[in-house]
Symmetry: C2
Subunit: 354 residues, 2 copies
């Protein structure tokens, strides 16, 4: 599927042809595979062996999880590439979930002022969302993705067969972003996802492939019309302002998709309270998320004041007021002129969090 300047390949069994596909879209003297301790043992050796027919190969294994998506890890991986003899003529291969994709993408974006990256997402969330669109970056103590770059992949290679080994909690978290795509752009897709969520969680290949394809199509269309997030792309942030804040305050104890689910319900309530969204929008969203087994409220041990404070660290906190992408109704986001985001007073958010 075309995603602007690059292609998203979605073929069951594609992992057996990753190497030749990588070599054809981003030929290089060296290939640096970046993966983590969960994914590496399953797939990195086979990929390294087949890539070796096309150039030098090094494998860089990260500790798993968002807690390691830091500047320190980025610097360490960069130094490993330098030690392995990588120069400008290197292609970085991101083999893993969203954290690996963001971090490896940022390494590629900044290594020798930019080398190609091929995204090989291995989680539902990364296939559906994170690997498409060119956002890369790392977290700092102040918040998520505060340091990064836009760096489009040379290609995205998604093999849904690798999801067989993905824990169901992670499959569920990936569904949250798929629901988001339906909510922001396609009510019919949301309804069909609501019906097929059980099959996807159970690992049904056809239902999963359909969701990946429809989500990537929505995301690619949004991103290719506004790569740098000056307008329409902001709609993809629905659920993420409060979602990121909850993720940050929880110390990344919750999965990203779980936080987005909670964030979507809360932000839809904000939208209703402001009269932006039709009444009942948040209840509809909550019902769908609950049926899929996703959380819809912040854990009790997180303080509302801390969550509110964390929203101010968001990149979307422009000019002192925090901006939200809000729905008008299922399938349609509020344009607010061409801004696609709305400044919301803390008082409204505080009331929703109460």
């Amino acid at each position: 599927m075309d995603a602007g300047s690059y292609t998203v390949y979605m073929e069951p069994g594609l992992r057996h042809r990753f190497a030749s596909r990588i070599a054809s879209v981003a030929a290089a003297h060296r290939f640096a595979i970046v993966t983590d301790e969960h994914v590496g043992p399953h797939y990195a050796d086979a990929l390294a062996a087949s890539l070796a027919e096309h150039g030098g190969v090094s494998v860089h294994v990260l500790p798993p999880g968002e807690a390691f998506k830091t500047r320190d890890t980025w610097a360490k991986v960069t130094d490993e590439l330098l030690a392995a003899g990588c120069g400008r003529d290197t292609t970085v291969v991101a083999l893993g979930g969203g954290v690996v994709g963001d971090l490896a993408g940022f390494v590629a974006a900044t290594f020798m002022r930019g080398v190609p990256v091929v995204q090989c997402p291995t989680t539902l969330l990364a296939m559906i969302d994170a690997s498409v669109g060119g956002k890369t970056g790392v977290d700092t103590a102040s918040g998520k993705n505060l340091v990064g770059a836009f760096h489009e992949p040379a290609a995205v290679l998604a093999d849904i067969e690798v999801l067989r080994t993905l824990p169901v909690a992670h499959r569920r978290a990936g569904l949250a972003e798929a629901f988001k795509h339906g909510i922001i752009a396609d009510a019919a897709y949301l309804a069909s996802l609501d019906a097929s969520a059980g099959s996807i969680l159970a690992g049904d290949a056809s239902a999963t492939l359909d969701a990946v394809a429809r989500s990537v199509k929505i995301k690619a269309a949004v991103v290719s019309s506004d790569a740098r997030e000056h307008g329409l792309r902001k709609t993809l942030n629905f659920g993420h302002t409060l979602g990121h804040a909850i993720e940050h305050v929880s110390g990344y104890a919750l999965l990203h998709g779980e936080c987005v689910a909670i964030g979507m319900v809360l932000e839809a309530r904000v939208a209703e309270r402001l009269g932006v969204a039709a009444e009942g929008t948040s209840d509809t969203i909550e019902g769908i998320l609950l049926r899929a087994g996703l959380p819809v409220r912040p854990p009790r041990d997180l303080s509302s004041a801390d969550i509110l404070a964390a929203t101010r660290l968001d990149k979307k906190a422009r000019g002192g007021t925090v901006e939200y992408a809000l729905p008008e109704r299922i399938g349609v986001m509020a344009a607010n002129g061409h801004a696609w985001s709305i400044a919301v007073d803390d008082a409204v958010v505080r009331a929703v969090l109460a």
Copy 2:
């Protein structure tokens, strides 16, 4: 002067109008001035005071010198911006020489995935060369500029009056890059610079402004035809492969421009030895540099083997062989097809270094 998508302003006395110019090319909610301990005391307070009419202002002062152009400094400045409350709607102002420009540019390139930077170069070298073209980055223990990004400035504001306080050694180092522009693209400019070098070193405003204007014109033409350095832009690296190696091995004890001067003489000798350059090219270059008081040989205490080894760390070391941009004759670089660089065997470089 137009440099592709942005403008280079060169007006004596422009520093008094920096703030309004910055606000007009890159309006923002906050302005983060990045400067160093040498330049800050002269100009930062006045700039901060006048920028305060256009938004919030914070000032970030670096220790001076290439030794601090590191990922650690980059992270520290980034964290200072976050602590100052900077969000996406921030413009970074780089007020200083090449090091400040590279580092502040990289902060801007990666802050919230990219915010605008306005380059206000305060050295001859930065005005003539570093501030134009969008290269940003930092050094690592492995070599210069190995981590960075292409991030074009919103504008370049050069006031040659600030060069009054620039030590003559730094003015001389800036001249080296101006000579480079003549050597790679304009023999007539090189001849006129050879004649006016004494006036420029003495601080003559008209000779200096002429050199800045002609150099920026050459650099901007090259860069706008090949921003990402796939071809013609490589000619700007003349003198830099060995220059960077010498700079690295010297522990940054020599100024960048001094190393480029030495590098140009050595690389011209490489070109003659390979039969690429007309005989006498290196002697002509050496004569001009000597007349301007620039060094033309590596310091005796640097080992040739170390310098040679350091060339392999270069970004231009593609596929295991180090690539050089080499002259054919004064004013004309060797195209080598459309590559604009030539792989050179270590043996040839070793012979020239001997």
